[in-house]
């Protein structure tokens, strides 16, 4: 009996020690880790827009972050958008689900602090009244060039085969897909994990909104020519050739990955939902902004 108690005691102490070490390491590294993720995100955003180290973004290109919240207005639910204004301040615009303008409240927060989710939500809550229920939904980055809209970047998450798949989607002004990058996933290596390969994710490139709205997966083999176009870097194809192939297949459905139909359709449906909802919401937001004469930098 005594023996068992010693064993239990020592194993518990060992576990506690291990936990302590891991916890300390987590606390010590979490800040640098977050920073790395942020830097990586910036890099992905720029590469989706077509910029790289060799071809850096000109100074006229600017990114404006729009945060979407769900707000409880009495019994009803409404959408709230935290928007940057032209004079550098922030404003929280609430729109009801039917698309009607509800209220506009100025929010006092510095641009650096607006990036932190906790502080941002607090500032918004203080501005609209703390008693209203408030929940952060998602963010959109509006990219402008010389004050004109150039593209939208949508970070998003949708359920995959195993856990959530995190993706970053770049849309053109007319909501056709400019590029897709899979940020995080835990799909099976060799099967579902192929979603982050060029020959899958590049299939989304160039698809216009009308095609995306009814996008499905199809289980026929990928045509060889299309494969070459998707992995242009590997086969050394010229830009004209790639554009031609992309245009030829742009109205096709997504060719599913072998042995990973669920992962393929999860990504396809996730992207479809993201684009559809975004196009709908942005139209409403733009209309409200124009009606209320709210001056945003985009």
């Amino acid at each position: 009996m005594k023996n068992i108690l010693t064993i239990i005691f020592r194993l518990t102490v060992a576990c506690l020690l291990a936990g302590l070490v891991m916890g300390a390491a987590f606390i010590a590294t979490s800040k640098a880790k977050k920073h790395n993720i942020h830097v990586n995100e910036q890099k992905v955003m720029l590469s989706l827009l077509g910029f790289s180290a060799k071809n850096p973004a000109p100074d006229s290109v600017a990114m404006h972050e729009v945060y979407r919240y769900l707000v409880g207005e009495g019994e009803e639910l409404a959408m709230g958008y935290l928007l940057p204004l032209q004079d550098g301040s922030f404003s929280f615009v609430t729109i009801d689900l039917a698309g009607g303008f509800v209220a506009q409240t100025p929010v006092t927060i510095s641009p650096e602090k607006a990036v932190e989710e906790g502080e941002r939500t607090q500032a918004v809550g203080a501005a609209i009244g703390a008693e209203k229920p408030l929940r952060y939904a998602d963010q959109t980055i509006v990219v402008t060039n010389d004050g004109k809209r150039m593209a939208y970047l949508l970070p998003g998450k949708f359920p995959g085969f195993k856990t959530f798949i995190g993706a970053m989607l770049a849309l053109d002004q007319d909501f056709s897909i400019r590029g897709l990058e899979i940020m995080e996933h835990e799909e099976d290596p060799g099967l579902g994990a192929e979603i982050d390969q060029d020959y899958f994710k590049n299939q989304f490139k160039g698809k216009p909104l009308e095609t995306v709205k009814k996008l499905e997966v199809k289980k026929t083999p990928l045509p060889e020519e299309y494969l070459k176009g998707l992995e242009a870097g590997k086969y050394g194809l010229g830009a004209d050739e790639v554009a031609r192939i992309q245009e030829q297949y742009q109205d096709d459905d997504i060719y599913a990955l072998t042995g990973a139909t669920i992962s393929s359709s999860a990504v396809t449906n996730g992207i479809k939902a993201m684009v559809k909802k975004f196009a709908y919401r942005v139209a409403i937001l733009d209309r409200v902004l124009a009606e209320q004469h709210i001056a945003t930098p985009f």
Partner: protein, 204 residues
């Protein structure tokens, strides 16, 4: 029982006499699965080296307070802790290396070689000896993985370290997992042969 070998002998022992892959035949799953290129072998080798050294030192430091009946859980706990810590530190301070190595580091928790070395060596020896033994085992594993990776990359893809040296792909078969067993077997035979020749020469 303390070892009478010097630190250098311990390191050489890990690389040659008790090479984890060719002599101890431990951790064959990762060896066969990952050793498709020299670079992969090197990455996994580095990761194993660090985890082995840290775990060996920890266990040898605490060997007197570890209850004999919960040895294995304690070893696993130690390895898991170090793997987690190394994983977090890499992600925080070497993000570029982490992008390439991250997947290998997480695999190590289940490696037989590390547990075996803790059981066979670190729980009986001094911290100093365990440190050098860990270095030797890590280097031995790295050497084995890189040797396998070299053969498989050259014969399977026609490249070495990603550079095209042959200009064609001789046998794609060598990149596939089951070819790993052939390579391990053939290289094991080669090492045994070298040992026999060496012993004969010594006797004569």
């Amino acid at each position: 029982m303390a070892t009478d070998k010097t630190s250098l002998q311990l390191v050489v022992n890990g690389i040659l006499n008790e090479n984890p892959i060719f002599r101890l035949v431990l951790s064959m799953c990762p060896a066969v699965g990952i050793s498709t290129t020299v670079m992969n072998g090197f990455m996994l080798g580095i990761a194993v080296l660090f985890v082995q050294v840290f775990s060996s030192c920890t266990i040898s430091l605490f060997k007197n307070v570890i209850h004999p009946r919960i040895r294995i859980p304690t070893y696993t706990l130690t390895i898991a802790t170090w793997v987690t810590v190394i994983d977090m530190v890499l992600a925080a301070y070497l993000p570029e290396a982490y992008a390439k190595m991250g997947i290998f580091v997480k695999l190590i928790v289940a490696f037989a070689i590390i547990t075996m070395r803790l059981e066979m060596f670190a729980c009986k020896e001094s911290v100093n000896a365990s440190f050098w033994d860990g270095i030797g085992m890590g280097l031995g594993f790295m050497f084995g993985m890189m040797a396998l990776g070299f053969v498989r990359e050259l014969l399977g893809l026609g490249t070495v370290l990603g550079y095209d040296v042959l200009g064609f792909k001789p046998l794609l078969f060598f990149v596939l997992p089951f070819a790993g067993f052939f390579c391990v077997g053939l290289m094991m035979a080669f090492f045994n042969y070298v040992e026999i020749v060496y012993k004969r020469a010594k006797r004569a």
